[in-house]
């Protein structure tokens, strides 16, 4: 298992959304437009990389009994930083994502990478792992956002595709559309790949 594998595995083989079925709340909630999916994915990737670095650096200093609260506080700190950066430079996106930026704190992808990977390996591999997972999470959210935006609003990244005559399927930008799109996508990927998606998430 080389260093490149640690990077590539997050893209497809252990993709957090389609294979591991983790971080479902932001995946379903913010993907009603492609741009929101990109923004949420990048914000999560930022927190993931930073927290993986810090956890890998101080893993020997944390007593194992309080490691989970310690990781959560590290993650919460970087989420606050990400939130303030978004509020300062991209206030529109920060408003749209709203509640789901602070909820990156309890995104199980991040805690799972800290616990399962960064706490057991060095900084270089942890960064590669976080980058792979972050990019895997981002493309998954973007794909969902693109599909839901095309069907639900007839546009892609805000650019209208079909002109005036298109009757948009509002259901796809409402909550049921999120569940349905992700369910069908995972079924589609299951049908064309040897490994199936994990049965449950987080635990």
């Amino acid at each position: 298992m080389g260093a490149t594998y640690e990077f590539y595995k997050g893209l497809w083989k252990e993709n957090p959304v389609f294979r591991m079925v983790m971080g479902m709340c932001p995946t379903l909630a913010v993907t009603n437009a492609a741009i929101n999916g990109v923004a949420m994915g990048l914000a999560t990737a930022f927190v993931l990389v930073c927290s993986n670095i810090v956890v890998a650096l101080i893993k020997t200093l944390i007593p194992s009994k309080v490691r989970i609260p310690a990781y959560v506080i590290i993650i919460a700190t970087f989420v606050t930083i990400a939130d303030l950066i978004l509020a300062a430079y991209f206030p529109d996106i920060q408003k749209v994502l709203g509640l789901f930026i602070p909820l990156i704190v309890v995104n199980c992808v991040i805690l799972a990478r800290a616990e399962a990977f960064a706490s057991k390996s060095n900084v270089r591999l942890s960064i590669l792992d976080a980058l792979g997972m972050g990019i895997g999470f981002t493309w998954a959210l973007t794909l969902l956002g693109i599909i839901r935006e095309i069907l639900g609003m007839g546009s892609i990244f805000g650019i209208s595709l079909f002109g005036e005559g298109y009757i948009s399927w509002i259901i796809f930008i409402l909550p049921p559309g999120a569940f349905l799109t992700l369910g069908l996508l995972i079924a589609f990927f299951n049908a064309f790949s040897k490994n199936k998606a994990e049965d449950s998430c987080c635990h």
Binding site: M24, L28, T77, L99, F179, G183, A187, F188, K196
Partner: protein
């Protein structure tokens, strides 16, 4: 009356799981058996109500007076929730072993349940009073219990159905959730927002 409306809106109209996408992880992960799902719902309702009260107190007596709510809110809230869950676990273990046996295994999972943190942040965002926050937390918990128990009931039946191989597991659960969410959309006209 206003409080009753708040309660009903949290249970049906703005259901945490099906309308707000909070607490999806346990909703998908712990919904295989009805009894287990119901216990999980009870444990979550309990922690939600308590954490709504605790985070309200910290928000209004510590964070706001010292002007720290913009910078320390996330860290403070997640710490309160984590320690509250730990405390509830120890308290139950000591006082009610039977209750601990049915709820105990779920308590550690609840810390990373985004419904709890989401609830605290929403209550702070809407500037609810202490009573409103408590009702909000309790209503959200009841809504969560309703959704997860109904889901488990459906999944118990799906298990014996002949479904395409690709849909087995997560995909069929998500499609079921989609249909449930559609049904819950029907409640949206119930309360004028």
């Amino acid at each position: 009356m206003e409080l009753l409306l708040l309660f009903i809106s949290q249970v049906l109209v703005n259901n945490f799981v099906l309308a707000r996408f909070l607490g999806i992880c346990p909703f998908l992960g712990v919904s295989k058996r009805t009894e287990v799902a119901f216990s999980m719902g009870l444990a979550t309702t309990f922690v939600m109500t308590l954490s709504a009260i605790a985070t309200w107190l910290v928000q209004n007596f510590i964070l706001i007076p010292f002007g720290m709510q913009r910078f320390l809110q996330y860290v403070a809230f997640i710490l309160i929730i984590a320690s509250l869950v730990q405390f509830v676990e120890m308290f139950l273990k000591k006082t009610s072993p039977t209750l601990y046996q049915s709820l105990g295994i779920f308590l550690p999972l609840i810390t990373t349940n985004c419904a709890i943190l989401g609830l605290a942040l929403l209550a702070a965002l809407n500037e609810y009073s202490l009573i409103q926050s408590t009702i909000f937390g309790f209503g959200a918990g009841v809504g969560f219990t309703l959704a997860i128990t109904a889901m488990a009931g459906i999944r118990e039946h799906i298990e014996f159905s002949d479904i395409p191989a690709a849909f087995k597991g997560v995909p069929i659960t998500l499609v079921t959730a989609a249909i449930m969410a559609m049904a819950f959309l029907g409640f949206s006209g119930l309360i004028p927002m």
